[in-house]
């Protein structure tokens, strides 16, 4: 049932078994799972059914993007433009691209500080499968070969250094035709045990005096009216920035913010940026266009192939994750790709397919990449605004150049193609696109409270009944688009909460 908070009596009390703050793609999935299991669920959604300027402006805040040896960039529209604050959340503007993280992303890598998840990729496989089903996608297998089921045309010669990284596109987004995402939302709104409260902003988490349990949530409307929400269990699913903001701002019992026992809250923020610079990278493939047809999934305009450094190569060379994504022919590319033409004749390749490309590198967990509150700057609800200082670390920038060279050499050795890229280390930040809508890491998951904010079940360490859903719990972020992984973790969280509600956890 959809309920507009404006229609509630002043100082109303909302009660449920589970209250979920945030009606985005994770909050909706979790509500449906819990509702199906018999729980009474309330979703508290800040926005309405469609974006509204006044609500969206609650997101405003400054952002900088920086890296060692590079000039910092101001991205002050990023906070506002990278999220959508209404029912369905950023799923309304999501491109639908899905991929699991790679097995190496879950591993503790001694050359990447603070890496390692409390679980392996294999342990998450069944949850990835369920998340894929939610999004109307076939399952991603545990390996690319298992997914494709046949030899890959780009890497027909086996390579221990390179790997194809499969990507699929879900139609369950607000941008795709067909109404799949509308049905996804409607399934929650029409659920007999789910109430979706619109224009219901969670502005404070009220703790018991001992700080070990959430007592209630404060709900505020833009017109100043306030309500109270009470439940057995509470889940924050307001996105990778707002989850942090709420926990930091609820500091009346935990003075540094809830879950900030080891000073990790808000830190290790990770985003995904695309490195392409104005003079776009180019990959001249020694392949015919027809050989790329398998990558033209979901009937998109152009083949979309992602080649990465293999897990083994990353371990061997102690690098961060890296991919090159092939796009369509860049219109700015003119003339003959002379290197590939020459090579084609020597290798006996049938054709040259000229492609644009972009690179992505893993943004590693960095304590200085962080969200902080701006106590002197308040939004219309009186909440402190938040600043994002997004920083890349030394290891990303140190390893990028050698990685590109190694990548190009392997493409050459395998007779896959020839790569062009003339970017320089000190221009990497300038070469990056605006970061994507991927907000990860700032309520990081760790078994020990010393190392993170939430435990392996996404429960805030030290708080019995408060959980976090979404990509803010990712300890590391790999390169894969995060929606599939955050949904897999949400499904896993749902199982855990159902056990808890039934008294078995």
């Amino acid at each position: 049932m959809l309920i507009d908070a404006k229609e509630l009596d002043a100082d109303s009390t909302i009660e449920a078994d589970v209250i979920i703050a945030g009606g985005g793609i994770a909050g909706i999935a979790l509500a449906r799972q819990l509702g199906d299991a018999g729980a009474q669920v309330a979703i508290l959604e800040s926005g309405g059914e469609a974006p509204e300027t006044r609500t969206q402006s609650l997101y405003t805040g400054p952002t900088t993007l920086s890296g060692p040896g590079n000039d910092a960039r101001n991205l002050d529209d990023y906070m506002l433009a990278s999220r959508v604050r209404c029912f369905g959340g950023s799923g309304n503007a999501w491109g639908g691209k899905c991929a699991p993280l790679d097995p190496v992303d879950f591993e503790a890598r001694d050359w990447i500080p603070h890496s390692g998840w409390p679980m392996s990729r294999a342990a998450l496989q069944s949850f990835y499968d369920r998340a894929s089903a939610l999004l109307g996608l076939p399952s991603f297998g545990p390996t690319p070969d298992a997914m494709f089921g046949s030899a890959d045309p780009l890497l027909a010669k086996r390579s221990s250094a390179l790997a194809i990284r499969p990507r699929s596109y879900s139609a369950c987004t607000g941008l795709a035709p067909g109404g799949s995402f509308a049905r996804y939302k409607k399934a929650a709104a029409d659920h007999p045990r789910i109430k979706v409260y619109l224009h219901a902003n969670v502005t404070h988490i009220r703790m018991n005096a001992d700080g070990r349990r959430v007592h209630a949530l404060q709900v505020s409307e833009l017109d100043g009216r306030k309500h109270t929400a009470r439940a057995r269990l509470y889940v924050l699913a307001t996105g990778g920035i707002e989850n942090v903001r709420l926990l930091l701002a609820s500091n009346d019992v935990h003075r540094d913010g809830i879950g900030n026992h080891s000073a990790w809250l808000g830190r290790a923020f990770q985003g995904h940026t695309v490195i392409s610079q104005d003079d776009s990278p180019e990959l001249s493939l020694l392949r015919a266009d027809s050989e790329l047809a398998r990558y033209n999934n979901q009937q998109r305009d152009t083949p979309h192939a992602v080649i990465g450094l293999s897990d083994a190569a990353q371990r061997r060379h102690r690098t961060v994750n890296f991919t090159a994504t092939l796009t369509g022919l860049d219109k700015r590319m003119s003339g003959q790709p002379v290197v590939a033409t020459l090579t084609q004749k020597l290798c006996g390749a049938a054709a040259v397919s000229r492609r644009g490309a972009y690179f992505m590198i893993e943004h590693t967990p960095n304590r200085d990449s962080r969200l902080t509150l701006l106590p002197d700057q308040r939004d219309e609800l009186g909440m402190p605004r938040v600043r994002l200082d997004m920083r890349y670390g030394e290891i990303e920038f140190e390893t990028f150049g050698p990685m590109i060279e190694r990548f190009a050499a392997e493409l050459g050795r395998l007779e896959v193609g020839r790569l062009r890229w003339s970017g320089r280390r000190e221009q990497l930040i300038a070469s990056m696109s605006s970061p994507s809508r991927h907000h990860m890491g700032a309520t990081r998951m760790a078994r020990s409270p010393r190392d993170g904010v939430v435990d392996e079940h996404c429960r805030v360490h030290g708080v019995d009944n408060l959980f976090v859903a979404g990509s803010s719990v990712f300890p590391t972020s790999g390169i894969a688009n995060p929606t599939l992984t955050l949904l897999a973790l949400t499904v896993r969280l749902g199982d855990h909460l159902v056990r808890g509600l039934r008294g078995r956890a």
Partner: protein
């Protein structure tokens, strides 16, 4: 195991010499050079020459490319092996952004000192 490029190029030179046909300047000789964009190749080749003009291998490569023979396949096979050996060993250079093997770079450099033959691409 990577193959030493000097040995390969010496083999190529020997092949060329054994053909008994000698150098033919600016002729449409090496079939793998046919149809390439000569101006673009020359630009990249000159970039390589600016940094490596004294390489002994360049003369060997010039002799080989400028020769005429009836069967180029052994040369092509050797060049292909040399390219792969370069990539395997990390012997790559960056020419205007293109990551190429030393062997490819030298082939491009050869074009820099030639005029375009009649068979050159547009």
């Amino acid at each position: 195991v990577s193959t030493d490029r000097r040995v390969i190029l010496q083999m190529i030179a020997a092949l060329v010499a054994s053909s008994g046909l000698g150098n033919v300047s600016a002729a449409c000789s090496a079939p793998f050079m046919e149809g390439i964009d000569w101006d673009a190749a020359r630009e990249l080749g000159q970039e390589y020459l600016r940094a490596h003009s004294q390489e002994a291998e360049l003369q060997t490569m010039t002799t080989m490319v400028n020769s005429t023979r009836s069967d180029w396949q052994p040369v092509i096979d050797e060049l292909r092996a040399a390219m792969q050996a370069d990539y395997e060993a990390g012997r790559i250079v960056n020419l205007s952004g293109w990551f190429v093997s030393r062997t490819e770079a030298r082939l491009l450099a050869v074009t820099a000192s030639r005029t375009a033959p009649a068979c050159a691409g547009q």
